[in-house]
Amino acid sequence: MTAAENPDWRLLQEDDAAVRVGRWQRLPELPAVTDPLPKDYYADQALLDAANTALYLGRPLLLTGEPGTGKTEFANHLAWRLGTERPYRDQFGRERVEYALRFDTKSESRARDLFYTIDQVARFQQAQSTKGDVDPLPFMEFQAMGRAILYARPIDSLADRLPEWQAYPEEPCRSVVLIDEIDKAPRDFPNDLLMEIERMRFFSPELNRTVEAEPGFRPIVVVTSNQEKTLPDAFLRRCVYYNIDFPGVELLKRIVAARLSDLPQSATLVDDAIAVFRHLRRLRLRKPPGTAELLDFVRALRARGFGPSDRLEANDGWRAEAALTLLKIGSDHGLAKLPLLDWKDIREDAAST
């Protein structure tokens, strides 16, 4: 998609308001961004070893790292590697594959939410309108951890409660559970999970029973954290910890190649973009750009008409795109001094690392 094929990348102009009808049809198609497949994820040996240790010791794996280092994706990758993914049909009947069972932590999450949620109000109203006991099961919805524990049991009466579009495995099976961004939750959240995660069971007062995973089928737990809050010691003690370093040049190239499939791996454009990106990251900005920003940058460059084998040096147009995509905070613009950036410095930076 070069400038010649798509002359309308400057779709909106200051003085063209008169011809706005039907404009939207000429909007460029979104550039090819492929969702990363778990099998394309590249995990280095240290990360795999950390997972090995976690699997061997039967402890949750706690992953930290800057945004964009692939903490969340690793859980899916792990599920793919272990072969615990589960095909299903979604509400629209489409074939899908669920890799890790995911729980997105919210700032008001409580420990119980990890296992199930229950609609008390509806249940209460139901109880008002009918006589006799109300079965709580229809009002419960099992969440990632609860589902993982259910999957790890032979089929029983609780199976009815699972959404229909999810196949309930007939045999107990293991699954990977991802608790994403645990540091968003209140401080008590990880503390309340200690026993549940250790024993892989939970008690539901509504059902008045304890649900426990079969010993051989304990779910594998991956926890990610953005390090926004200190996690309690007791929780850390029960985890296996790995910090994913920010990817180096080679890995960045791989990531760009994997995500932007229309670019050849050896594109000089990507080399240059990564050089600029890394230069900016070394400046101690308040908000250093992450991999998502890099991808945006490359896509913006492509939209602007840069070809895969172009060099940024030849055309100063990249500066505006870099300012738009890589820098997010006003004061960072002053620090980065993008309009004055000399290619010599960038090259030196790239050479020195």
Binding site: T53, T64, Y242
Partner: protein
């Protein structure tokens, strides 16, 4: 398994690695160790040694590390261990070598250094002892046997007997052939001992340096730090546990869950229409601790850190950040390297309870008690918020009150009593207005280098005030001390001073801008003294270098202004960047300062002079201009003082003059350090008598016992400084209504100078106390527009420490209560006795 022993660590080596990790404050328990050993066993069972050894590091690190830094640290330690055991055959044959080398792994850094120095001491002492003993033995060895006696004289008589003694005397005399030989020999023998003793003394002396310069191998334990006066620990361990329990106490927060038990009756009461009652759930509160840390080796911050560590250990939810002076930028722990803006922190931890552990001087405009707006705004995002002050309570001032009133902070001392008060507050109702939390009990001991309590700053410098801001930068303590002396000197000349030590550019601009804001009239006298070079650095710092006395003529002129006259900038330094104010970045600075064209021109003049000055002759020229200044201000004394014409010399000179007058001894002033008193008494600005002077300028209020001292003081003031003094026993006319007259004098004087001594304090209940009350009353009448001009407020601290009522916890002046004897235009020369 024995095949793998070549490249894989053994269990013992793993144990040593764990020991070194423990020293590095890694936290792990038996579970972790068991896990590591399991994995090690697996690795030993692995067929491919090399692969197992390579992978072992990344397999073990996740067990022990908890932060990115710890992860990197573990990798490093593990690599060191592997490098040590790599020459495996040697290590196997010589287990003791392995042990020794293992020890060096374990004690990487400090421990190894300690071992080395301990070894050196032992070797040296053994050598010295050996040499000493050897030398001593050689000295004390029995004299060589006398030569065989002469063949017996055939006829033994009395004469021959005496003759037999003489050769013996002769023998000893030949052995000590020269005078002093024995002495020299003894000296030579004792030399190693002396050298050794000297070395030990040097080591011992070094240990006596300031505590904060010594990082130490081990962290300070807050429970062991004791207050010098009360012999009680600053933080008691058991108490910290109890405080942590209170801090942990749960809040009840509403949840999304229905409280069924209460909903049913409520719904029934509402006639069947659904009335939900939501559950409240307990949530443990989180705390955000901001700790002021002047440097990496700040001892005080270290102690506070350890106390906070205890809380963390007790499962209190704590986030901790450090700052220097200005809390706008904070540095976190090793989870997040680099500094972060406080706005980012607020976005993340806005729901926390804020606790600031700081002296808090960086929160204020330097010349008054106003909180810096940006600091107040930034910290106001948290409720509740508290400041635990590390300042000794004796030097609290209006600023601490301002923290409560303007900042809305709860205030307490950074000690166990303060923390307990804070915990009690946390457990109590949340919506109380800010207040002083504790009945003041224990406070932090004074921080090194800050022992001089704060001058009571004035609420608002009025027009015509002479104000000075001194800025100095640099690690050299000498420079800092000199600038502080200069500040004291200027105070002696009637300046309001503020000293900024090593500020960043923003702080400096704030300080200067506040100065210009409060002194907006062009006729006001403002002195800005930069010690060093004022230049923008990459991160906005001001770099200041050496250089002194460049603009001394201007300086001297300024000092001689009897009252406000003009605005002068004295910039003292090595070199100025001419284009500094042309740069757009810096125009903000100039704008903040209110520097107009003429000020910039003045700057350029200074700059030009600076450029013209040959660099090599710099010091000499500075001295000569300083000589001129001194000669102008101090008259003939300068000539007598000779070559010692530095600021230090100036203060010495003043001290000498005061001593000559015998004032110091009489009032026991040396208790407080004579430098300060010399600044009070010695350097009095020479005033032109007669021009517009009132009949009496200074009212000296003294006890009968101090009349001699008062007489000397008044003699000095009248003769040397030309100031008229009113003394009741001398100047009260006979047959006057003496009480009325004294009251009148107090009403009309310019300076009220109570001489405070043990005797005066004894007589406070009598008429003397009434005199002070009259002065206070006059001050109260004129409150508001009154500039609080407090001299040496510190001097009274010891007298009032014991029985200060709580009404005025801030005041360190001898008059308690919020109204102090502050009279417009009057200066209070407070002095105090030892008792």
């Amino acid at each position: 398994m024995s095949t793998a022993a070549g490249t894989l660590p053994t269990t013992e080596q793993l144990q040593r690695l764990l020991d070194s990790l423990r020293d590095a404050r890694f936290k792990f328990g038996p579970d972790q160790i068991a896990g590591a050993e399991k994995i090690l066993l697996l690795a030993h069972a692995e067929a491919d040694d090399g692969l197992a050894a390579r992978r072992l590091k990344t397999m073990l690190a996740p067990i022990f590390a908890r932060t990115p830094t710890q992860q990197a640290d573990f990798y490093r330690r593990f690599d060191t261990l592997m490098a040590e055991i790599a020459p495996a055959p040697v290590a196997a044959r010589l287990p003791q070598t392995a042990l020794a080398s293992g020890a060096s792994v374990a004690g990487a850094g400090a421990a190894a250094k300690r071992t080395r120095s301990r070894l050196a001491v032992i070797t040296a002492s053994v050598a010295a002892l050996f040499l000493g003993v050897a030398g001593g033995l050689w000295l004390l060895r029995p004299p060589p046997p006398p030569p065989p006696p002469a063949p017996p004289v055939p006829n033994p008589t009395i004469a021959t007997v005496t003759a037999r003694i003489e050769p013996a005397v002769f023998v000893t005399a030949t052995f000590y052939r020269r005078e002093g030989f024995r002495l020299a020999e003894g000296g030579a023998m004792a030399l190693p001992l002396l050298l050794f003793a000297g070395w030990m003394a040097w080591r011992w002396r070094r240990r006596l340096l300031w505590l904060e310069r010594h990082p130490g191998v081990r962290d300070a334990d807050p429970a062991v730090v004791r207050l010098p006066e009360r012999h009680q620990p600053l933080f008691r361990a058991a108490e910290l546990t109890a405080i942590a329990r209170d801090l942990r106490r749960h809040l009840r927060v509403p949840s999304r869950d229905l409280d069924v038990d209460r909903t049913i009756p409520e719904t029934l009461d509402a006639g069947g229409s659904f009335t939900p009652v939501w559950q409240t759930v307990p949530r443990s509160p989180s705390y955000l601790f901001l700790i002021e840390r002047e440097s990496a080796h700040d001892h005080v911050a270290g102690i506070l850190d350890r106390a906070v560590d205890r809380f963390v250990g007790e499962q209190v939810a704590v986030e901790r950040y450090h700052f220097r002076d200005d809390p706008s930028w904070l540095t976190g722990d090793d989870r997040r390297p680099g500094s972060e803006a406080i706005a980012d922190i607020a976005a993340r931890h806005g729901d926390h309870r804020l606790v600031v552990l700081a002296a808090g001087d960086g929160f204020f405009e330097p010349l008054n008690d106003r909180l810096l707006p940006r600091v107040a705004e930034a910290l106001a995002q948290w409720t509740p918020r508290a400041v635990l002050s590390t300042k000794p309570i004796e030097s609290w001032s209006w600023r601490e009150l301002a923290l409560i009133d303007q900042g809305g902070f709860d205030l307490a001392t950074a000690s166990h009593s303060g923390l307990r008060a804070l915990a009690g507050r946390a457990a109590g109702e949340p919506d109380r207005p800010a207040e002083m939390l504790e009945g003041v009990v224990v406070s932090m001991p004074a921080r090194t280098g800050r022992t001089r309590p704060q001058r009571m700053p004035s609420p608002a410098p009025r027009q015509g005030t002479k104000s000075a801001v001194l800025i100095c930068v640099g690690p050299e303590d000498q420079a800092v001390a000199e600038v502080r002396q200069l500040a004291r000197l200027l105070e002696g000349f009637g300046f309001n001073t503020g000293v900024l030590r090593d500020p960043d550019r923003r702080t400096a601009v704030d300080a200067l801008a506040s100065l210009f804001r409060t002194n907006t009239k062009p006729e006001d006298t403002i002195l800005i003294h930069f010690r060093g070079r004022f230049a923008p650095g990459g991160d906005g710092a001001i770099f200041l270098g050496a250089g002194e006395g460049v603009a001394m003529p201007d300086f001297a002129r300024l000092l001689h202004q009897p009252s406000a006259g003009h605005q002068v900038l004295v910039l003292d330094g090595v070199m100025y960047d001419r284009d500094f104010f042309q740069d757009t970045d810096n125009s903000a600075v100039a704008e903040g300062l209110g520097w107009n064209a003429s000020a910039t021109q003045a700057l350029e003049v200074v700059w030009a002079r600076e450029r013209r000055r040959p660099k090599t002759a710099g010091e000499g020229e500075a001295d000569s201009s300083l000589t001129g200044l001194l000669a102008d201000t101090l008259g003939q004394d300068v000539v007598r003082a000779g070559g010692e014409l530095t600021l230090r010399g100036l203060v010495d000179l003043a001290r000498e003059r005061a001593r000559r007058l015998g004032i110091l001894e009489d009032l026991n002033l040396n208790y407080f350090g004579s430098e300060r008193t010399s600044a009070v008494i010695g350097i009095m600005p020479a005033r032109r008598a007669g021009a517009d002077a009132p009949s009496s300028e200074i009212f000296v209020s003294c006890a009968v016992e101090d009349q001699a001292a008062a007489q000397r003081l008044s003699d000095f003031l009248e003769e040397e400084a030309g100031i008229k003094v009113w003394l009741d026993y001398r100047d009260l006319p006979p047959a006057e209504l003496w009480q009325k007259r004294i009251r009148l004098e107090i009403e009309e004087c310019s300076f009220f100078m109570p001489l405070i001594s043990a005797a005066a304090l004894r007589r406070r209940k009598g008429f003397l106390g009434r005199e002070w009350e009259w002065a206070a009353e006059r001050a109260r009448r004129n409150a508001g527009a009154a500039p609080v001009r407090r001299r040496s407020s510190s001097l009274s601290s010891s007298t009032t420490r014991r029985n200060r009522p709580k009404a005025c916890p801030m005041s360190s002046c001898e008059h308690n209560g919020p109204a102090c004897p502050v009279v417009p235009g009057m200066r209070i020369f407070g002095t105090a006795s030892r008792r």
